[in-house]
């Protein structure tokens, strides 16, 4: 299988502190890859590099066999990598369509004014693709459930037609029902052949939706294998075992 995204020798240092060392990773189109590890394992640093929030101090990123270097998150987004952060994904008091088109609003001629109707219609369409039914696109996101908010954040990635969607702890702080909704969203993204990188501490979520799990420890990749046949307990043990 050819890789959509390839990382070679990725390293990240903050002064004397090394967060990532020589990380190699290949992710194929349409895969759901879980990125796991204990606190301080290097997950956040790797996500920031992929999101364009920071540049690696070593190594190369290949996207579709092309060497890439992301200037900023917007650059990564333009190149097809969207990142949905745990707490910072949405502007709570803004409406659904305002959040979906945050930073990339549509305008209409001749005066270049906002095309609110079209953005609302498109937002409804994106939500429909995720099987999320919300009647009013003017609803402020703060009135939505946690699962619906994640859906809105995913819609922003769909609006950019992102090929790779990075979800940073999407089920953290969510209840059982809302977690199930979010996992269902990931399955739908998978069904649409989107590539998902799921950063999670919830091993049961990883087992439920991921094709493959990558475990980081001390800034190094220590495990990279299919999830099939593993239980949440197995994954937790793998992280703990390596940590011991």
């Amino acid at each position: 299988m050819t890789s959509l995204l390839s990382l070679r020798g990725i390293g990240m240092s903050y002064g004397a502190v090394t967060a990532l060392r020589d990380v190699n990773l290949d992710i194929a189109a349409g895969e759901v890859v879980a990125l796991c590890g204990d606190n301080g394992a290097g997950k956040s640093s790797l996500v920031k590099i992929l999101a364009g929030a920071q540049a690696p101090t070593a190594g190369t990123i290949m996207l579709d066999d092309t060497n890439e270097r992301f200037r900023d998150p917007q650059d990564a987004l333009r190149k097809g990598i969207a990142t949905i952060y745990q707490d910072l994904a949405v502007a709570p008091r803004l409406s659904i369509w305002q959040n979906v088109f945050l930073g990339s609003e549509l305008t209409r001629p001749p005066f270049g004014l906002l095309d609110k109707r079209r953005m609302a219609e498109m937002s409804r369409g994106f939500l429909a693709r995720l099987a999320v039914d919300i009647a009013d696109m003017e609803t402020p996101v703060e009135r939505l459930s946690g699962g619906q908010r994640q859906a809105v954040a995913i819609c922003r990635a769909l609006r950019w037609d992102a090929r790779i969607i990075i979800m940073d702890e999407p089920t953290a702080a969510l209840g059982v029902k809302e977690t199930a909704q979010v996992l269902d969203l990931i399955r739908r993204l998978h069904a649409e052949k989107h590539t998902v990188i799921l950063v999670s501490h919830a091993m049961q979520d990883v087992v439920a939706v991921a094709d493959r799990v990558v475990i980081l420890r001390g800034g190094r990749k220590v495990e990279d294998r299919p999830v099939a046949g593993l239980t949440a307990g197995d994954l937790a043990a793998m992280i703990m075992q390596r940590a011991a």
Partner: protein, 320 residues
């Protein structure tokens, strides 16, 4: 439904009730001359408050607007008084206001000084320059009609000041509600980090908003000088608390909890109705200040109640 309608329009309805109260209480209140007077006075306050609103849209506060307006008026007045072409004087007043606003923006976004402190600093500097230019004595004189007509003239039978207010109000509303730039200003104020991660240049947005606030102060200054044929240090200071009150009261209507242009304009008008009505009913001058302070407190409480959230001050960036 009723609760939401009341939250959005309750304060505005109270303003209408106040208008009706004064109309019933004074035979002079509803005369065309008096209504025109209220609207003209609303122009100074409204334009100044629109600038404050724009800064607040990006979750920054501009406490320098009154002193900046006074300095811009002094610069304009000094030039007109000295015989300079009035249009150059007008341009100079606008530039002074805009530059002071830009200085606020740089202090906040480049030097990382919280806007509460940065704008106080710029206010003090502006005040110092005002006194330096005037030596404490106002510029007063018989100024050219081409200059005084800016505020005192009429167009199609409507006082120019009302046109100015309508024009600036419409432009600001259009900017905030219907343009991409405005959407980015709003997003910056609503969720700075989410906006930045979405590619919005949030620092530029804050700089722009504070610069526009300065430009509005500059325009207010030019119109004040034009209207009064005079320019003096601290001449816009009386409008300062009223401008803040207009923005806060405006946040309790139309879009509760958010700074919004229609709310600011309606609130500015209501405040002027209140001042005018109290005078017509023979109330002592100090009642205006007492009522004003009460309005500031009540409007912040209302905007908190309307949204179920802490008021805007919680969103202001006190830390950098």
């Amino acid at each position: 439904m009723i609760r939401r309608t009341l939250a959005r329009y309750g304060t505005a309805l109270a303003g209408v009730a106040l208008f009706a109260f004064f109309a019933l209480g004074s035979p002079v209140f509803l005369t065309p001359d008096n209504i025109a007077l209220i609207l003209k006075e609303t122009a100074f306050l409204g334009i100044l408050a629109i600038g404050f609103t724009l800064a607040l849209v990006t979750a920054e506060i501009d406490l320098s607007i009154a002193e900046v307006a006074s300095l811009a008026a002094v610069v304009t007045g000094a030039l007109v008084h000295g015989g300079t072409n009035p249009w150059i004087a007008v341009g100079a007043g606008l530039v002074v206001g805009t530059l002071c606003g830009a200085a606020n923006g740089v202090a906040v976004t480049v030097l990382n000084v919280p806007s509460l402190i940065a704008t106080l600093g710029v206010a003090a500097i502006a005040k110092g320059f005002s006194f330096m230019l005037t030596q404490g004595v106002a510029f007063v004189g018989r100024w050219p009609a081409s200059f005084t007509n800016l505020a005192r003239g009429t167009l199609l039978g409507v006082p120019n000041l009302i046109w100015w207010l309508a024009g600036v109000g419409f432009a600001a509303w259009l900017l905030v509600k219907w343009t991409r730039l405005g959407a980015h200003l709003v997003a910056t104020g609503e969720a700075d980090e989410a906006a930045r991660l979405a590619g919005i240049r949030t620092r530029s947005m804050k700089r722009l908003a504070l610069t526009l606030a300065g430009a509005c102060a500059g325009l207010t200054a030019v119109l004040l000088a034009s209207s009064l044929s005079s320019a003096a240090p601290a001449m816009a200071n009386d409008h300062f608390l009223y401008a803040i009150a207009a923005v806060l009261l405006g946040m309790s209507m139309f879009e509760p909890g958010r700074p919004n242009i229609p709310g600011t304009l309606f609130a500015a008008f209501t405040l002027k109705v209140l001042g005018n009505g109290l005078v017509l009913l023979g109330a002592e001058y100090y009642w205006q200040d007492i009522v004003l302070g009460t309005i500031i407190l009540v409007s912040v409480a209302l905007s908190a109640t309307g949204t179920g959230k802490a008021p805007f001050v919680k969103k202001l960036n006190f830390r950098r």
